[in-house]
């Protein structure tokens, strides 16, 4: 299998001189086309930072990331593959949707980066309606504002916004952590179905082991900026090698 994304020896250091924090320490990993790679770790372990490097929000301090064999970062410049090829869904649907925009504007906004021709095709009313219905919203919702929706519905809006450009790769940063369990199940199911239908590749960032176990083919465990273990989800869960992974697994609360 060819990697869609290849991360090579990246480091990320925040701050200057004495007050530095190394958020990412020499991480190398491939993300294969069509897989869901889970990234698990505690707060401050660097998992969201890694996501930011992939979507162009933060440049790595050193090392390189390639996407379909093209470098994503040249010095501090993000070399966007084609606009909308890489998308993202954030944790908090409260703060990731502009409160002064209608749902329709929110969902269509990513298309502004596309060439005119493509924008017209992808932004057609018919396509928009299909997309909105697919993520479980209604057409009349398009004219409303984010505050009129519940957390789960807002996350559906964020998912529609990510899908509108027909991306190949989506970084999901704790997409269900702010949701109630019954709603979390709806969103996880939706993400799984959408991946199948659109041949997507996911990087799924979460601190919740059961969610990772359910969603991901492979997983990587991060601890203090390093990847301490990476492999198939099943084999890591059944046979964890690193002490931190073992500790994470033993602190999982089981309902039954």
């Amino acid at each position: 299998m060819t990697p869609l994304v290849q991360i090579n020896h990246i480091n990320k250091i925040y701050g200057k001189r004495k007050a530095v924090i190394q958020a990412i320490k020499d991480i190398s990993l491939p993300i294969y086309e069509g897989e869901t790679l889970g990234l698990v770790g505690e707060s401050g372990s660097g998992k969201s930072t890694l996501g930011k490097l992939l979507i162009g929000l933060e440049p790595p301090t050193s090392g390189d990331i390639s996407y379909r064999n093209n470098l994503l970062w040249k010095k501090k410049r993000f070399m966007r593959p084609s606009p909308g090829e890489i998308q993202t869904v954030f944790q908090d649907p409260q703060s990731s949707l502009d409160p002064r925009m209608r749902v329709k504007q929110i969902i269509l906004e990513p298309l502004n980066a596309l060439p005119d021709q493509e924008r017209k095709v992808k932004g057609s009313l018919e396509r928009l309606h299909t997309l909105v219905k697919r993520v479980g919203l209604k057409i009349e919702h398009l004219e409303r504002y984010p505050h009129e929706f519940s957390g789960g519905q807002r996350q559906r809006i964020a998912i529609a916004r990510a899908l509108v450009t027909e991306p190949s790769f989506i970084v999901l940063d704790e997409p269900t952590s702010a949701l109630d369990v019954s709603v979390q199940a709806q969103v996880l199911n939706l993400l799984k179905e959408l991946k199948q239908e659109n041949q997507l590749t996911y990087l799924f960032i979460s601190h919740n082991m059961s969610v990772i176990r359910y969603m991901c083919d492979r997983m990587a465990v991060m601890y203090k900026g390093e990847i301490v273990e990476i492999g198939e989800t099943k084999s890591i869960l059944n046979n964890p090698k690193h002490d931190y992974t073992k500790m994470l697994l033993s602190s999982m609360l089981k309902v039954n």
Partner: protein
């Protein structure tokens, strides 16, 4: 020890009245750990705030009583309630950063709380403060006492909050999502700590959470709330292994914990009802797969179904 009877609470909102709690009955015995689980808006936090007398001004208690050792907390004046809070009834909230004073060091905060309820010298209060920090397994209590909240990690802050609550050992500790903001490894430490304090000092705990894993680890009894009502209650083992209410069952089925990757999760369709316009009948009927005609028309009351297991569902009634 604590007995909540027929408690109903409404909020006055710009758009009308929100029925936040409808006819809640809860009793807690000495030394017991009782969990309330529910999703956002189910009324679990409102229940806690009513016990503490901390409801917002726009709240209106329309019915019921909260009896604590033969006294009705709802009829007590502010001063008496304040004397109870922090002494007989302690509390721990979700966000330890906002629960602590940002510009006082930990020692000062503990001393203030201790001297509020005990007539002791500052020196003695300091000794008790260090003691309280030791009780929550803080290894360098003298050092932490000099630190400010921003210098501590989330887990340490929550330990300090628990130390504050336990510094005048209460009879009842109310903990509202005490581990929700914490990492899983820290969460299990804090839960163990609460269990230990419960056993050593026989403190009763009312634990409020959205996490079924947390109740299963800690609670003797579990109360499941939905849309401002108690839909099921019983021993934690019974409720989680043999749920009687379709909502509890659906909630358990929606967890990814036990599913294989190729199985879809059984999500509960729809959303929690808007409590400004509470639905007729059972609050869960619009999302319930097994809803019958009677469910849409009449609200099932909480009724005993087996031993100590209570459920509010028409499916469990003979007359339906």
């Amino acid at each position: 020890m604590l007995d909540i009877k027929n408690l109903s609470v409404e909020f006055n909102d710009l758009n009308g009245r929100v029925k936040a709690l409808t006819n809640i009955n809860i009793h807690i015995e000495q030394g017991e750990i009782v969990g309330i689980v529910g999703e956002s808006g189910s009324g679990k936090s409102v229940t806690a705030l009513s016990i503490l007398g901390l409801l917002d001004e726009n709240a209106h208690i329309s019915n019921g009583s909260i009896i604590y050792h033969d006294q009705n907390l709802l009829e007590m004046n502010v001063k008496d309630i304040q004397a109870l809070r922090g002494k007989k009834i302690g509390m721990v909230f979700q966000e330890p950063m906002t629960a602590l004073h940002p510009t006082m060091n930990i020692g000062q905060q503990l001393i203030e709380v201790i001297r509020q309820h005990k007539k002791v010298s500052k020196k003695e209060a300091y000794r008790l403060a260090i003691e309280a920090l030791k009780d929550v397994h803080i290894h360098h209590p003298e050092k932490v006492a000099k630190q400010y909240p921003f210098e501590l990690s989330g887990g340490m802050r929550q330990r300090v909050v628990i130390a504050l609550a336990m510094s005048n050992p209460p009879e009842l500790l109310i903990a509202d999502e005490p581990t929700t903001a914490l990492d899983v490894t820290i969460q299990s430490e804090i839960l163990n700590l609460m269990k230990e304090l419960n056993q050593k000092k026989s403190v009763s705990v009312l634990l409020i959470t959205h996490d079924l894993g947390v109740v299963s680890q800690l609670c003797d009894r579990t109360i499941v709330m939905y849309a401002g009502q108690i839909v099921e209650t019983g021993l934690t083992y019974d409720v989680l292994h043999f749920p009687k209410h379709p909502y509890t069952e659906a909630l358990l089925n929606s967890l990814p914990d036990l599913k294989q990757q190729d199985q879809l999760l059984e999500a509960i369709p729809g959303e929690v009802p808007d409590l400004r316009y509470p639905p007729m009948g059972c609050p869960f009927h619009s999302r319930c797969k097994q809803a019958m005609t009677i469910c849409r028309e009449h609200d099932p009351k909480l009724d005993i179904c087996e031993g100590n297991h209570y459920v509010a569902c028409w499916l469990r009634r003979d007359e339906a």
